[in-house]
């Protein structure tokens, strides 16, 4: 987790706004008493985008951290705040269901038909995450396998800032 924290500090992230899951919990724990980065825990993921957009308006540099299930809850908030405002907000999305999807030899581009969405051995949220980001106009990069989470996250932060729009990394692996 130290490497991720260094990445955030080096990138000038001032606030992390989000809701933890098993994957992101160590990051939230590490930020709970961090010297430079303030943690804002929300009750529902849609709040995270509105708060992050307000933070940006106020001159701060927030990072949103949510699970992909929470991303699906956040549609109107993400659309109506960060995306509509052209706010350069990086989003770290932890990817529930990606390991099951891999075990089932499926991929996000597979047709999302009834039989696939109702399969008991597949977590449908993983199937829907990347198509949803594409439809919502949020550029993203998937971090998986041997990819270095810190490197990909740094790239995502840079991309959000250079393109002035919310930009995501889908973390289909652990943070360390």
């Amino acid at each position: 987790m130290t490497k991720i924290l260094h990445t955030l500090v080096a990138a000038g992230i001032t606030h992390v706004v989000g809701l933890p899951d098993n994957t992101s919990a160590p990051l939230f724990d590490a930020l709970s008493d961090h010297l430079w980065i303030r943690l804002v825990t929300v009750t529902r993921e849609g709040e995270a985008f509105a708060i992050a957009s307000g933070l940006w308006l106020g001159g701060a540099s927030p990072l949103v951290v949510i699970q992909n299930t929470g991303l699906l809850e956040s549609g109107d908030s993400l659309r109506g705040t960060a995306a509509r405002m052209g706010a350069p907000i990086p989003i770290l999305i932890t990817g529930r269901g990606y390991s099951k999807m891999k075990e089932a030899r499926l991929k996000p581009s597979d047709l999302r038909e009834r039989d696939l969405l109702t399969r008991g051995d597949v977590d449908s949220v993983a199937l829907l995450t990347e198509p949803t980001l594409e439809v919502w106009g949020v550029p993203f990069e998937r971090c998986e396998g041997e990819d270095d989470p810190s490197t990909v996250l740094a790239r995502t932060i840079d991309s959000a800032r250079s393109t002035e729009r919310p930009t995501a990394v889908v973390m289909a692996r652990g943070l360390t």
Partner: protein, 202 residues
Amino acid sequence: MLTRAQVLDPLVQYRTDEIIVTTMGATRPWGRISDSDLDFASADSAMGHAADLALGIALARPDRTVLCLNGDGSMLMTLGTLATVVGSEATNYVLFVMDNGVFEITGHQSVAASGQIDYAAMAQAAGFQRVFFFEDARSYAEAVEDILTQPGPTCVHLLVEPGSEGPISRNDREKGRYLRTSLADWSRTFKAALETKDQKQT
């Protein structure tokens, strides 16, 4: 019950350098009487997310009071924000819930449990430092200066008469300057104004 003007006029009178975030039924009336770059319309925006957007500004700018003119319908969409405000420990945050019992912008449809919810009690139970309830103009006007100047977080529940504001757009025909440009462009105007005022103060 207060009229919208009875809610907004005292704010113009006592406002100094506060940031004002408006949404839904308060957006146009505020734009008609205020012309500050530190006004922000959460309009043509995300449903129900003015209160949390305002919280973000407050957290970024603890040196300034941030006032959100929210409606009851919008408040009901993000009640969890009451808990987030308290958890964030923001003391420079003032949340108005202008309770007219209806979704005025979309045609006066009744909100859930219209007229039955005590928003001040909800905020107090969540842990807000200060809460107020007003149903008459005089007691409200007498309290406005105190509301704006004392540490919070503060929630103000006001019973207001439904108005006749229709759907809000962003175009040259709008009277409020903050509605005559896109959300993206006004966001940059607002940010620049905050930075400029900082430079003037230093």
